[in-house]
Each structure stands twice: as C-alpha cells, then as structure tokens.
Symmetry: C2
Subunit: 331 residues, 2 copies
C-alpha cells in the first residue's frame, strides 16, 4: 500500500538504517550506496512518514498557529505571513481557528500539542493561567499579548494610540470617544489604558463606550450612545465595529466625517472603499508574523542547548492611511 523505508531498503539492497542515512545525511554514506538508495526512493515514490519520524525524534517540523477568527482579515494576514516565513525555515504551519471561544482554544491546543514543535498563539481571550500551563508543556510565542515571561511579539499600542490622537487633534477634535471591544481582550485594555493616559495628559475629553462585540452588529448597537455623547470623533476597537457605527450614524442623519470622524483599528481590505469614509489604522501584519516565527524558531533552537532566553523587539503600530477631511499620511 504505502511505501515505507523498508521497501526502499529492499529494492536498494541495503538496510533500513542505510536508507535513512542516505536520505538524511548523504555525506555519511558511500557514494554508490547513496545513489542506489536515492534512485530506489525516487522509483518507488517514497516520502518519509512524518508522523513516524515525529514519534522517533520528537520533532514534527510543524508549527501550530492559533487564531481567534481566521475569517478576520487581520488574522488571515497573519496566517499568510507566518506561513511564508515558516516555509523559509523549513517548517509547516498548522493554523487553527478557535472561533473566539476560550474552551475550543484550549481543546485545540491539546489536540495539536503532539503534532507541532511549538505554538504561535493569538489567544486574546484565554486566561493567563491556561496560557502559562500550555507554555510549560511546549514552546510558545504569544502574539499581541503579554503573559508573564512567555516570549511574545506585540505592537506598540501606546505609540499607535498616540499617532491616532495626534491626528485627531490636528483636525481640532477635543472630545473623543473610544468604543471598547471584548472586555477580555488584552489589546483592548492596552488601547484603552493608553487612551486614558494620553487624553488626560493632553487635556482632552475621553468618552468610553462599550464593551461591544468586535463586529458590524456591535458597531450598530453602540451608535446611539455615541450620538448622545456629543463627541466629534470616535475611535473604534476595530474596523468591523467602525463600519457598523458609520452605517447606523449615517442612518440617523448624522454626516461622517463632517459631523463626526470615525477611526478603526486593524484593516479590512475594502474598508477604504466605504462611503462615508472610514479612517483606518493598520498594523504591519507581514513583519508581525515573520518576527513571531523567527522568535519561535529561536526558542526551538535554544531548546537543544538550553540556557539562553530571548525577548522580542516590540513592534510599531502604523497608521497607514486616512480618508479624513484633512488627509495625512503616517508611517
């Protein structure tokens, strides 16, 4: 049925171990043997069974990547970036979608644990304890979140918030709302905190609304609250909320961005095309993903000869594009 190392061995007239060597370490075997083996392997269409190899070596060549929602353009972008980089490092990526659910998050990690060498975790919801526990069993790199001493790659949310505020202030906004995303989201906390600190220090008024679900519907739901708060600008936890918001605000007869400006984090490919215009704040997913992979690969390497420990360089959050009344390009 399926061709094994022994089939190749038989055809090449050598032992299984020689086949193994001829394929893995061609220089540790006589040239003639190597050729015979390689030809036999090719002829039979032999592919080493990675599962069996994993059992024997303890290394699978796979990286697990856990994201809350693979249909969210931000995360699918991360998946792409991770795959590209992982491939360059000779790793395969097994992406897993937790559907924003903590329970499946943990479950998925367990079923995947023995099939990967390490995890890249976008787990904004899971409890610190769970994550620490996972990190004890298997190498883990956290994305966009800090938990204890677990290696992580994060955006510089404070700086991103600063850029947004600078932008809005330049447009003469003084009373600004923040629509909070999921209460348990780490990034949400960071952004809210940064906003509070910054607006306070600049003498701006900050109105906090939410928490709402990070969806179009969430944005629709919070619109009336915002209109009643008489702010001139709104910063939304993400683009989807911002879109719902704009839709509902407009339906109420309020003009965007003349009467009220809307800014959303993350980026949906077509968000720019929306009318009325949405100011989008985007994160450099490509570099984000690459860095995360590099860090995890480092950690895996260090495991061989333990002792060293690394820390990720924090990343810039970049306001990439704006369609606000007074367009301005940040980077």
């Amino acid at each position: 049925m399926t061709v094994t190392i022994r089939d190749v061995a038989r055809l090449a007239g050598v032992s299984a171990s020689s086949v193994c060597r001829a394929l893995a370490t061609p220089d540790k075997v006589r040239a003639a043997t190597r050729d015979r083996v390689q030809q036999a392997a090719a002829q039979l269409g032999y592919h080493p069974n990675r599962v069996a190899r994993g059992l024997s070596t303890g290394r699978t060549g796979n990286l697990g990547l856990v994201v809350p929602d693979i249909a969210n353009p931000f995360f699918s972008g991360v998946v792409k970036a991770v795959q590209n980089r992982a491939h360059e490092c000779d790793f395969s990526v097994l992406p897993a979608d937790t559907d924003e659910d903590v329970a499946t998050e943990i479950e998925l990690i367990h079923t995947l644990t023995k099939q990967v060498d390490g995890f890249l975790l976008c787990a904004p919801r899971a409890g610190d304890e769970d994550l620490r526990s996972v990190s004890g069993d298997i190498p883990v790199v956290m994305l966009n979140r800090r938990v204890g001493r677990i290696p992580s790659v994060i955006f510089d949310n404070a700086d991103g918030v600063r850029q947004v505020i600078t932008h809005l202030v330049a447009l003469r906004h003084r009373r600004i709302a923040y629509v909070a995303g999921p209460k348990t989201s780490w990034v949400n906390h960071e952004r809210a905190r940064a906003l509070r600190t910054l607006t306070a220090s600049m003498g701006l008024e900050l109105v906090e609304a939410g928490n709402v679900s990070p969806t179009y519907v969430g944005g629709v739901a919070v619109a009336d609250v915002l209109l009643a708060a008489s702010v001139t600008a709104v910063i939304a936890y993400n683009d989807m909320i911002a879109l719902g918001l704009i839709s509902q605000i407009t339906a109420r007869g309020v003009r965007v961005p003349q009467d009220i400006s809307v800014v959303g984090f993350d980026d949906i490919p077509t968000a720019d095309l929306v009318n009325p215009p949405l100011t989008t704040v985007s994160q450099p997913k490509e570099r984000f993903g690459r860095t995360a992979v590099d860090l995890l690969v480092d950690v895996l390497g260090d495991r061989e000869r333990p002792g060293s420990s690394r820390r990720a360089a924090p990343m810039q959050l970049v306001v990439r594009k704006t369609t606000a009344p007074n367009p301005k390009e940040f980077s």
Copy 2:
C-alpha cells in the same frame, strides 16, 4: 516530562492496555478499574499522543483542507464551515494555504498526507493528473471542481449564471460583458461556458474580457477595455475584480449603476457597503463546507468496508442580495 499511558497505568496500578480500554471503551472494563484509571488520567493531566495513536491505528482524526488563498473571504468562509462540521464529526481540520501556487499545492499535500485521514481540496489550478495521483494515495474530496471520478462538491454554476442573467435582463440589459478570472480556473471555465450558452439562446450579446488576476488590480486593469466595449452590464469573475472595476470606471466619470451595472461572484463581507453599489452573487459557503465534510467522512467510513461509492448532490448558487437600481431578492 510528558505524561504517557504508562504513567497513568502505574498510578492506577493496572497495565497500559487497561488504561487504553478504560479510556477508549469504558464499557469493556470493570467499573472500579475504569474509575481508578480515569481519575489517575485526570490527576496526571494525561492526553493521548495523537501522533503515536496515528502510527498505530493509521487514523489521525485529522482532515486536510487545502485552499488557494485563506485570506480570500470565500475560502476563509469555507474553512469555518468545514471546521464546524468536522468538529461535530470528531475530526480536527488542518487548513493549508497554497498561495495560489500549484507547486506548493502538491508539496503541501505530500507533507500533510500522513498527518491526515483524507483531504478536502480547493485546488482550482493544479493539473488533473496531479490530483488523480493524490486521490490514489489517500481519500480526497474536491471542492468546486470535477476531476474524473473523484468525489466532489460543486455549485450549480449554470443555474447561478441563469439567475444573474435573468436579473440583468429584467433590468433591460442586452449587451453584457464577462470579465474572466484565471485562465486555469475550473470555475471560470464553467461560468464562461454557461454564459455563452445562455446568452446565445436568449439572443443577448456577450463580450468576453480578460483573463485577469482575481484581484482588485485585475479589475482596475480591465476597466478601459470594458468601457470601450459599450456594454451596459458587467459580470466579474469575483468581487475583488468587481471592486477594482467599479473604482476605475467611476474614476473615468462613468456612473455605476446608472450607466453600467456591475455584478461580482463570491462575497466579501463588506462588499455591500461599497459606493457606488456592487451587485453581489454569493455562494452558500456554510452548506458547501458541511456537505464536503460529510462526503469525505462517508468516504473514510466506506474505506473500512470498501465497495460503495458516493456522489455529492450539486449545490445551488444563490444570488443573495442586490443593490442594483431595481433591487430584487433571489433565493
């Protein structure tokens, strides 16, 4: 380090095989033993090693899902649907993104082959021969494409095209363009063929443009050709092309949809929000994904007792929503 079946056996004071039974077939073991084992397992936090199990049983409990672009909303929708259904059938899903590249497609399939029980393949580009070969090694279900006698789940493209044309004709369009997607796309061929047949039989004029890449840029690139063709309606291979098209057409001072109607297949979550309006044709991804999983699971089951062979019921393509001048809801 990692807790194995033997650790549990020791703690429970039984043999490894009893642990195995107590966990897999609790009824084939004495109640007392079962309890002792289960408690020991819980206490140690034992999780069976799926890799080892796979080696022994030949079944991994994983389904491979290959898609050309996980960032494309159509495919991420399929991934979601597949995961939901697979989970109900006690399977995990390993999604793989081929980046629209035939070579990685094949490569990915090989590295995944021993880690899954079967494949769900969205491989619009790969050659028939490659796919047949894969299908010989391991159970395969093709999505949105027919290759020989490989089980497959497809949309009824002809019917979908009929709905679109009916819609446009009701709006008095007589001269209609089709913007073809990738030349090697099976679905593209099907749609073009259906369009030719149908328009001919209805006495409509069909202008074919393209092929273009299935992206925003592809749409921009083809706009001038269409304007020169003096059609009143355009059907695009997908939403991304349609968006680029609208953008460029509008930039040329032509109004959408007053001067020209644009229809796009697939659906991007925010496509409805675009202005000028885009008529979207959406496919029922949820049911699509579910059906594919069911079919593959069937095939896997039949493998045990081979002999039977199944065929997927073709699926309806549904025009779900339109923002055209004379809105009309199909379903």
